[in-house]
Amino acid sequence: MSNFFPRWANWLPLQLLVCGLVIGGPITLGIWYYFTPKYTRVGYQPDQPVPFSHALHVKQLGMDCRYCHSFVEVAGHSNLPSTQTCINCHGQGKILPNSPRLAPVRDSWQSGQPIPWVQIHRLPDYAYFNHAVHVNRGVSCYSCHGAVNEMSVVYEAESLSMKWCLDCHRAPENFLRPPSEIFNMNWHPASPEAQRELGTKFKEEWKVNPPVSCGGCHH
């Protein structure tokens, strides 16, 4: 036998090529989806020290976001409520004073140790975000946090990737709302067209001109 290579060897290049396509393609697509914030971020839903339900408080009881997140309109950070805020309603002789699920709150109130809520929406340290300027200029909580009023346990609704931010900064008209509806989680534009029309109006009236160059968020 003086052919060193077997016959099937001749098919090898073709086979390799096909395998490459069959395997490589899906891998690329997989990385495209599974390794980007669209997947890695969205849907992050850790359990919290206190089983606080936004659905209950906001949807059923109709509380306003700002009752707990009280500084969102003035400060860069949307603060978490102090234990005091919880105790206002859940203190002795008030609502569910002895519920075991509120034990951490009571402990915190007595010990003075803060409640370690698990953080969900996390921006990198080098990205600067300011809540006040957004909520005051027609961007609703809903646009970034999703339908929190529906969530019994809060999860991350949007990717919060830089591209995602830019989508809005480049075309705010697709998201701007009437000032009255900023904290109304149930307000939805009649149609995309209606939204664009409304948004464009606000954009021009208010001269909304969000930064699209690095310096706006990275300094």
């Binding site: 005091q84 409640i115 996390r122 999860y155 310096g215």
Partner: protein, 1034 residues
Amino acid sequence: MPPLKKIFQHPARDAKPTLWRTQGERENSPEFAESLAREFSTDATAIDGKGSGLSRRDFTKLMGAATALTGIGLTGCRRPEAHLVPFTKSAEWTIPGKYLYYASSMPTPVGAVPLTVTTTDGRPTKIEGNPLHPASNGATDVFAQASILGLYDPNRAKEITRNSAKASRADLDAFIAQIRSAAVTNGGGGLAILVGKENSPTVERLRAEIASQFPKLLWVQDEAIPGNHAVFDALLGAGVRPVYDFEKADVILSLGSDFLNPSESGLGFAKGFAKRRDPKGKMNRLYVVENHFSLTGGMADHRLRVRASEIGDFTATLAKAIGAKLSNSSLSGHAAAYSSSGNSFDPAWIKGVAEDLIAAKGNGIVIAGSAQTDAVQALALGINDALGNLGSTVNSVQTSAKPSASLADLSKAIGAGSVKTLLILEGNPVLTAPAELNFANLLAGVPETLHLAQFADETSKVTHWHVPAAHYLERWGDARSIDGTICPVQPMILPLWNGISSLEILAALAGEKVDGPSVVRATFASLGKDGSTVSDSAWNEFLRNGFASGTAWPVSKPALNASAATSAVQSAPKISKDFEVVFLRSSSVDDGRYSGNSWLQETPDFVTKLVWDNAALVSPADARMLGIKDGDWLKLSAGGQSIEAAAMVAPGHVDKSISIALGYGRKGISHVMENVGFDAYPLRDSAKHCFRSGVTVKPLAKDSYTFVRSQDYQNMEGRNLAREGTLATFQKSPEFASEMDGELPKPTSIYPNPPLTSDLQWGLSYDLNSCIGCNACLVACQAENNIPIVGKDQIRRGRDMAWIRIDRWFSSADHKEENLEMIPMAIMCQQCESAPCEAVCPANATVHNEEGLNLMAYNRCIGTRYCANNCPWKVRRFNWFDYNERPLDELYYGPLAHKGMAESLKLSKNPNVTVRMRGVMEKCTFCIQRIEEAKISRSVKAGASDVTKTPLPAFKTACQQACPSESIVFGNINDPKSAVSEAKADPRTYSSLAYLNTRPRVTYMARIRNPNPAMPGADLVGAANRSAEQAQHS
């Protein structure tokens, strides 16, 4: 609907969150963690568990890191758990993440520096001047700026020790109580208290209080670098001090006085002086007589190099001349009383100055260096008197300073064994006392000694008690600013390491109850009209404004006591022809009190550009004579004392004279102070003059010492970088500066640049004419922008990180020492409209924004360093190592080096500026965080309305805000009415390297000198660029 993937069941934790405990464990100092817990709670900001290298909001990270790490451990490769820790009880005033400003002040021997302190979430992060204060234009000096680091300095003393064993606060209180009870019985016999000069009314009050209770008490006040208090008491009356009004002065003669240096004489002088340097107005003229280049010398129109010890002779000669011209007998009398050492000075110079001063009768100032001899002070006042300056430009204030015993008196008392208990409140006598007193041994002889200080320093080593002192940002207090106005000192934060203030100790001695501001408030009350109580509103106003209006010392026309003057003149010391040594106040560590501050250590000296060192400055001629060059060792000996120091050749220095800064060469206190410079204190005698005459100098055959300067090349190499002209030139052709581009190609652009659309276009104008080069902007920038320090070795390798640097040029039209001029020129990112750095960055990490800013996105930067190569001004700084996270002595260990920043330093960071990581480029951003802050608040204010109709809140860049001479003007060049637009419209304005057509947003205003034609070498003044032009054509 949530995608039902990744519902993280983080392991259940025990109901009681362990955040603080783990925190404490990490910190290894429960007290600290406690104080944090008490003082701040974090707000809803990110706590990045991954601890990425680029970290903003390090403070909150510090809080969360511990638990976040456990998160990593437990969730494996999943997303690490991070926590948000809200307040338990809401804190008054505090809005998480919003700045809170308090008015306070920084006590210094010169006088309190009025401040507004920026706090974030309960931690002070930035210091600014208090613009409301009459004696301040909202400016600050280096030391005030750097004091923020002083607060968080991890090397500060942390515990009370007795006989170097840890003691508790209770022990201390017991000790004080015991002293008091003893004093009550024996009227304070054997009790001595040594304090520094703090100008604190409360201290004065408590002193009076204690003195009245314990009449035998010995109250000693000592400063390392004193003013001539005694002689002024004699010349002008007890407690009367001269004050100068530079805004009124047409002709100024400085006799070795560095009055423009803020840390020498407060911020007011520079401001007033600068106001009169505008060539469009009536420009003043400055004569300086000094032995080495000082800031003031750099500003001089005519400068004469005279040995510090011979300034007496000079003054006498001048006084004689003026006395003769004015046929003023008393002045001639004083002059005659002076026993000259027979030095002669260029008569033309004397004549010129004399005539100019006489011509400006009543509008001149003759000011003598604060550590000059009594004779010089007396003569200077005499001349002012003769010229009728007293009452117009030279006035006096009746200070509340009471005479107190000197260190010499104390030593005597100790020697006589009459001191049993000595309390040293601040100050460091063992370091600063004249060697001949041999103070360390004396102290050892005192049965009970206590030292209150922020560092366990030389003195603490020999005292029985060491008590950590509270930083002024941690304690209550009050202090008088240079004009006597009373300012509060407010605590911004609980003592990080349980520091104690001198007030607490004094109050305890006086038997007063110490409870927060009570002691201070009591003082404040005593100043009130009725002297009894003070209304809350008045008190709150005092705290809010940061000063009590109307408490300034009354200004009056001084009356010179002629006989006292004569005797003062006669007291002039004999001067030897031999070398003299001149002791300088260091521009970085003052008298040594700031040697622990690494920001200051790394700030280049005004003139020598030396970092992390002082040096024995010798004139070029002497260097040749002694056959030495930079770094060679000298042995300086006088009166049995001797020191060894490495020499540095200082252009413009007078011969037969050696200048050396005080406060260096300290050993065994903290690693920051190790191997830094040479201690010059031992050479001083108890007269504490700024010079010591008759010093023998001997070069040593040691291998030479490595000096590191932030600037290696001293002259402009024939390039018109810093531009100057004379008043005449300016009046002839106002735009002479921009015409200096000469044969360089005219800028042209081959294509239209894309328009910069915003209504805000930022620009900065920098006035070479008023800049004194005081470094305040440098440190302000460092504090504002979280700029790391890199250490001596890295700077030697050319890895300085300062975003703004001050180039200091020496130039001399005829290349002679006599006519040497000094020009400081601040260089920061020029924010070019077509920036060379941008085109070459492959990653788009540095681009332009619509407001004409040259942005730098650290998180996009991959560190090719091409931008820096292509930056003509070399203002870009590269993180060669992980300067923030690794110890400076382990930079080269790579991953083996310890990682992480000292916890306390994390608190000092500005939360709105990213802390940069290794491998990224950084540079001046025009304080973009402040710009964005302003824009955001404008938008918030506008809300649902046209934002462009809402005015932008006023703000300044850090360097602008700190500048005492208002040389930096920043603003919107799109607005023709803005200050910066007006500044740029000035004919003196020119762009640096205009021919490159990068169109910088930073422009410079040429320096104007105002020579006196009658003076020798007048034609060589203001000719820095003449030599340049010649060089260019040759």
